[in-house]
Symmetry: C2
């Protein structure tokens, strides 16, 4: 018998790799934070001797969900201004509220609220873009969640920096601070083509290349963005980014609802990744991202919720469902985006986009034990003919019972182990009272 | 002090009538199953003396949700065949499974599973279409839920009847049986234009008129349906229904994803109601129902989940959210279908379509006390700037705590009071094993 840290026995496991695999009555063996083995439970019991053992006999185990586009701290602005178009929402509500309220305390409290919600809905890793990325990184590291913090860059001054050079230098300091951290990674996050000019974008390209980190950017979110760019620069934003050398495997372009066939082919050839945010695109009436066409062109499509101020949640289970439903309708093909494919988008494809798929995104021996358990034995998901179908089409976030990140049990029978839920709620109510009366 | 049955004190109440009203710190007074009064809690405490009092100080009260299109018993086939186009799904999977398995026991057990799910997600009333409507009616009456059972009619034989005449005569017997029942009503439910021929449709029109009941029918669900009808009859289905005199305020046309401007105007002029099923339309890639345009034309648009075999749930909170998100994208207008409008679609508009809006669908004195309470003080729906926005865009079914139908407390702090959840789960697992191995 080999001594190991943890054994999880599960009714079903969808490891995502190999694709579309479904294991029954198997166990995951965890040692020193990583998956050591996955094997039939009968064999596991005679092979391994674990310090901790979990029997999840009504559950499906999946890789922890990877939310590839968030503005975590904006959870404090959830529902502040709904049912408005993107420009009015940003210019008249969100940006004024941010300039009034965002500070280190806001980012800390908002990120904790967001992480509590993400863990409670099965997400183990998020890719963020916001001010004070150092605060986000510290909160995530303290909680034990895997985070990719965006080193945000804008042309105009905010509470975080005065000009593009200062954004970049403060970002580089955060990058240095977390270099080699097992949970925290950094990416450049130039906000969008319409908020960052050529010079900083060129500098970001060179630096991202030197540091071997990604570039996380909103691109072609709305038709209006494209039209305005043509007016101002004579070019569509993707054409401009291509000219600046930014289209490469380092790029994570978010939204991409406005794409010509030539642009799809060009982006596929560049090796860039795409982050699809279906609910945000719907709610802001931004347009439809042609996911099936993009995947068929060979583009790696990951999924993100966007911030809770626009979505209005950080629930990747719900986002996978919306992606599956919308992908069929937009592709005019009910067999498009089947359940297994969407689960891959919500896990492994996100890890690929972030360059961490050797370490997470699927349940394979050698990878970190980033694992989510959902109970399928409820009124809402019975009968179970196909567990992955139930996961995508019927399962709610409340059915997530347990979450591990690098083997650490962060959600335990729905209880957060590294965050104080009541304390977070109290601080959230305080922020609400301040912001409402301000 | 006036003696009454029940007082519910609530942090917020969205009564739906008057439109967009939000009450704070008010109480609902219930007596003999009906709403007697709604007034500030301070006044309620000095005016009424209640046998039972509930203090819901973190909750929003809304009218019970009205699911205006279901096939309740099909919950037993949830997830049996996903990611398939409508015709293949129906012809190769659902219809064969139904002809093999559907009987009175199946309908009873499936309806109980469906009602448990609906009550747990805040629905108090459903409009069903399925075989053995007598069994559905009996199960609903026994549970205490409000149900509108469809007297299904098809041209071809099934376990319920051999030909259209027998469907109609069996339906009329169910109608007679439940005449005057406070919870159960009947509607004719000719399945679809492509499954019911002219003669039975004409008879249904005459009978519906005589009995003063509605007609619940799938219409223009897919482009394929319309194309085939033109091939076979030379007419689009709506044109044929118009010729048969079926377009009237008695009609509840479900789906309606394929509509010309002329058809929209004609349907609006007829006074017919429309039941929008956004998730089913997306999942089966049936097409997009232009809800904003239909509402603007004056058509009453209600909401339905469709059966759990196609959706795959009966969660009206989720369906309202999908309707709001999709309506904005399809209308290319982020201000389309705002939260209050969608709540009205999910409650009062359903009651209107069913002809029961004098008795339910909003929280007004005199109406039955059909009420749903949701707790908004969770990680997922804090902060609360706008309770109705939180309800539509962030709230999950798990936040429904209490449900009353005609003043009877059917869900009490998430516990079903008239259904046995464990027993339902056990029978559901049994059906799953039988159907899978068959």
């Amino acid at each position: 018998m080999t001594a190991v840290d943890t054994l999880i026995h599960s009714r079903w496991i969808a490891p995502v790799e190999p694709a579309t695999t479904l294991l029954e009555y198997h166990s995951v063996v965890i040692h020193e934070g990583r998956i050591l083995d996955i094997l039939p439970t009968g064999e596991a019991l005679t092979t391994y001797n674990a310090s901790v053992e979990h029997s999840l006999d009504r559950h499906l185990l999946i890789p922890g969900l990877v939310n590839t586009h968030t503005h975590a701290a904006m959870s404090l602005l959830r529902g502040l201004a709904d049912d408005l178009p993107l420009n009015e929402w940003l210019n008249d509500h969100i940006w004024p509220a941010e300039s009034r309220w965002v500070n280190e305390e806001f980012v800390h409290d908002g990120t904790q609220l967001a992480m509590a919600e993400m863990l409670r809905s099965g997400t183990t890793c998020f890719n963020d873009m916001y001010f004070f990325p150092d605060v986000t990184a510290r909160a995530a590291a303290h909680c034990g969640m895997r985070a990719n913090v965006g080193l945000i860059v804008l042309d105009f001054p905010t509470v975080w920096a005065h000009d593009a050079d200062e954004y970049i230098s403060r970002g580089l300091a955060v990058h240095d601070q977390y270099r080699g951290d097992p949970l925290i990674r950094t990416l450049f996050a130039p906000h969008a083509p319409y908020t960052v000019s050529d010079k900083p974008l060129e500098r970001i390209r060179v630096l991202a290349d030197e540091l071997d980190i990604g570039i996380h950017m909103h691109v072609h979110e709305t038709a209006d963005e494209v039209d305005r760019a043509i007016e101002l620069t004579g070019k569509r934003p993707l054409e401009r980014l291509h000219g600046l050398g930014l289209l490469s495997p380092a790029m994570l372009a978010v939204h991409m609802t406005q794409l010509s066939t030539a642009e799809i082919n060009q982006y596929a050839a560049s090796g860039g990744h795409l982050v699809h945010c279906p609910e945000s695109n719907l709610k802001l009436a931004s347009g439809f991202c042609p996911v099936q066409t993009l995947s068929a062109a060979g583009i790696n499509v990951a999924l993100g919720t966007d911030g809770a101020a626009s979505n209005n949640d950080l629930d990747m289970l719900g986002e996978m469902r919306s992606a599956a439903l919308l992908g069929k309708a937009v592709g005019a093909d009910a067999s498009a985006l089947p359940a297994h494919t969407v689960l891959e988008m919500g896990t492994l494809n996100g890890a690929r986009a972030l360059g961490i798929d050797a370490d997470t995104g699927s349940l394979l021996p050698g990878k970190w034990a980033d694992i989510t358990a959902v109970c399928l034995d409820t009124i809402e998901t019975q009968p179970v003919y196909n567990p992955v179908s139930q996961l995508i089409y019927a399962c709610g976030r409340e059915q997530v019972t347990d979450v591990w990140v690098a083997g650490r049990h962060l959600l335990k029978e729905r209880r957060l182990t590294t965050l104080e839920g009541n304390d977070i709620l109290e601080r959230t109510r305080d922020w609400r009272n301040r912001i409402s009366s301000g």
